[in-house]
Symmetry: C2
């Protein structure tokens, strides 16, 4: 029987003070308040790189969550993802201080015209030696839409059609505009590049017209590694077509297995191989040298959770203002049917007979938490791996503390169990992120972007222009 | 009599192999071919930081120059600003490896929606401790416009109205959305920020609708230092309103004096102080230990200039295909009146009785060149300073060679003459770029952006929301 593949680890962060579990920024040893300082991220990236994490993964949004108690005052008081800084522009600093770490950021088509976005990303892929990943999202926030000139949120499925169109332009620029071998940089002849191998793309579609050529020569990966996190049917179909890695948040290994099997099947229907897609489960960890110590630390953390913040985040994400609900109200007593059914859906798995709004909000922070000794954590991770999960997106309680602890106290045990690969030796040859995950620098031939390779090459192009 | 102010020095570069003087990338000791590698720029930034340069200044374009001999094949062969990488996304790496160096990049409104651009820039201003400058340009290239969904180039003066509108949104986000003191980060009370001091901007204008609030807390400079380089009447009026530093390319100190006096007068008409605007002259340097050695090196450089490349760049920038003109044709024999008059305008100062197309193209590369011993260079720079120039944008023949040479062999002599300030001591308190140039971190109260300070603050805002 072949040895099962080790899990892959990414640090799940956001360039903000209060990302997922609200209230935790108040901990004295949490440094996430320093998120505007580059050193926080550089130091974290170094820790992850030395520890053998495959990537740092920056979540992002470009607007306020929906209202809570009729407005956004509480968001500001809580620090609920405001302020938040751009993740993409700090990646070159992280690249320059690390050797092997993948650098994943989140961006939505609404944020930048494709030509500029493609150029920024390709520049970073060069700068990092091919370690860039892009988490493709479609902005799901009303305020985000109104920060970008729209009246309000674009309808859900239409957002995915938009993302499809955006990716189409990007693939043409990244994969099609420059043929292999176009860059010559030949000092002797004075030929810098070969014009017969560089092409305009003349893209025209509903939202975009882009002439090209692309301005950046092919970077190590060309197209960055594509992450996606959609869980709706349209979102999963999108992931099945485009994604190389999917970020999932399943309540348990069985749920993950069903989701993964389904999505791999979908990917096959789109002409891809089941293994062309990797799945990262979001999990947080509370470690102790004994189970008792771990449980005590978990209880301490629970006491620091800002319940109102969790409710604001929960409602703000699903577009329902839950601010007037009592934390103690059982959700089956909620009168508005839409709100009730959303909460009941979220409440699946909550270990209370009649969960309240507060129960759900806090449980939402706890449900993906693994509490125990390193050995117990290894057992739990083995179950996730056996369910088909390829990697873990490690959620933090503190930055950098949660990751220092994971690197120093959990990964060594995981390695003895074959659940984590050894960290690359410092100074060992660096791979691209795709090379590290899939063994190849470039997108698989089965990926839809591959159709643009050579697609703009004239059939009988001259190989050189006349000499002067 | 007060001691004249020392000059300020910036390195004028572009993230490309062949920026201004074409053919020089072929030199064996030039490393500009490595422009996609982060280390080239990190190492250069360290050299400039240690040498006391005030800034590194990245030029940029987002498309091909206009046709040469009916197409763009020669652009590619020559490397004429293709490939070129995005300058903005590499700045955080340069920030993390330097202490004092200002980081200036170029961007046009066409490139990004204002909300995303404002956030990227503010994130970088935080990450660098307030060392970011933005060179505001309006894309002047047909292909650039067609890379961003337009049919073709927007009319010149309309581009500046567009830039005015773009800046208006940005100023609201950077200066108005967050009042001073909004960020609390108070672990004890759990109040992360004060909602009464953070505001939506509700911007609506011809091209932009942006609701806000801004997502980034005020960075050290809030608005980055604003550079501008327009030389047309509309461009100079724009600079007089918005710019804090203007990049000029005058043929001689007298021309600089006239331009500077005129623009300072214009600035005053816009309610600003003449000294609110600083002027950087673009100059390149060929240094020798004797005048003879310097002249010999300059001649060697001349021999490496690609004349066709200079002509392609010249014509591509002014929108005329000069590819069919013989290099040896005197320009007064050119039949197309538009082309002839543009070239005659450019030819002003060319030391030939009847200059040819080739003469002009090469002279264009030489006209801003200072050749001599460090002492002779100091004499020439004294003349520029006496004409009112505040700083020099140092053009290179090789990267990093030209800057290493300038730091090691020219700046020490300039310092003995009071023409350059001492380099900041390593480890000495870092200033913002605006602090270094103007003695203040924030935009002057006389700047048009200052009107938005406090502009969105309700007159009787509550200072806190009710506690839970």
């Amino acid at each position: 029987m072949p040895q099962p593949r080790p899990l892959t680890f990414a640090a799940f962060v956001m360039n903000t003070a209060s990302h997922i579990t609200h209230g935790l920024w108040r901990q004295p040893h949490g440094e996430q308040l320093r998120h505007s300082e580059l050193d926080l991220w550089v130091d974290l990236a170094k820790t992850l790189d030395r520890g053998g994490f495959e990537a740092i993964f920056f979540a992002d949004v470009v607007g306020l969550y929906g209202d809570f108690r009729g407005g956004w005052d509480h968001h500001v008081e809580l620090g609920l993802q405001i302020p938040s800084n751009d993740p993409l522009v700090i990646l070159s600093a992280l690249a320059s201080h690390t050797e092997h770490l993948g650098l994943a950021f989140t961006s939505a088509p609404i944020q930048q015209p494709p030509f500029n976005f493609a150029r920024q990303v390709a520049t970073l892929d060069h700068a990092s030696g091919g370690r860039i990943a892009w988490n493709v999202v479609t902005n799901a926030l009303e305020n985000g839409a109104r920060n970008f000139g729209l009246d309000g949120l674009t309808e859900h499925d239409e957002r995915y059609r938009w993302a499809d169109e955006y990716l189409d332009v990007l693939y043409k620029l990244w994969e099609g505009s420059w043929d292999e071998g176009a860059l010559l940089q030949d000092r002797a002849s004075g030929r810098h590049a070969d014009p017969s191998r560089i092409h305009k793309i003349h893209h025209e579609s509903e939202r975009y017209r882009v002439e090209g050529p692309f301005l950046v020569a092919p970077s190590p990966q060309r197209t960055p590694l594509i992450f996606q996190a959609g869980s709706s049917p349209v979102g999963r179909a999108f992931a099945a077509r485009h994604a190389e890695a999917q970020f999932i948040q399943s309540p348990d290994p069985d749920g993950a297995r069903r989701l993964i099997d389904d999505t791999r099947r979908l990917a096959q229907e789109h002409g891809r191989h089941p293994d062309d897609l990797r799945f990262f489960q979001g999990l947080s960890f509370v470690v102790g040298s004994t189970e008792e110590e771990a449980r005590r630390r978990a209880e301490e953390l629970d006491g620091q959770i800002d319940v109102a913040g969790q409710i604001a985040h929960l409602g703000g994400g699903v577009g329902a203002d839950l601010g007037d609900l009592s934390h103690d109200a059982p959700i089956d007593e909620i009168e508005t049917e839409g709100v009730r059914s959303i909460l009941q859906w979220i409440a699946e798995g909550v270990p209370h007979r009649r969960p309240t709004v507060g129960d759900i909000a806090v449980f939402n922070a706890q449900r993906s938490r693994v509490v125990g000794t390193p050995e117990q954590i290894a057992d739990r991770l083995a179950a996730w791996r056996d369910a088909g999960v390829d990697g873990v997106n490690v959620i933090n309680a503190t930055i950098p503390g949660s990751y220092v602890e994971f690197v120093d106290h959990v990964l060594p045990t995981l390695r003895t169990r074959g659940l984590a690969a050894p960290a690359p030796e410092p100074g060992s040859p660096a791979k691209t992120l795709r090379g590290r995950l899939f063994g190849t620098d470039r997108l698989s031939d089965r990926h839809p972007a591959a159709r643009y390779r050579g697609a703009f090459t004239p059939q009988s192009a001259p190989t050189s222009i006349a000499a002067d």
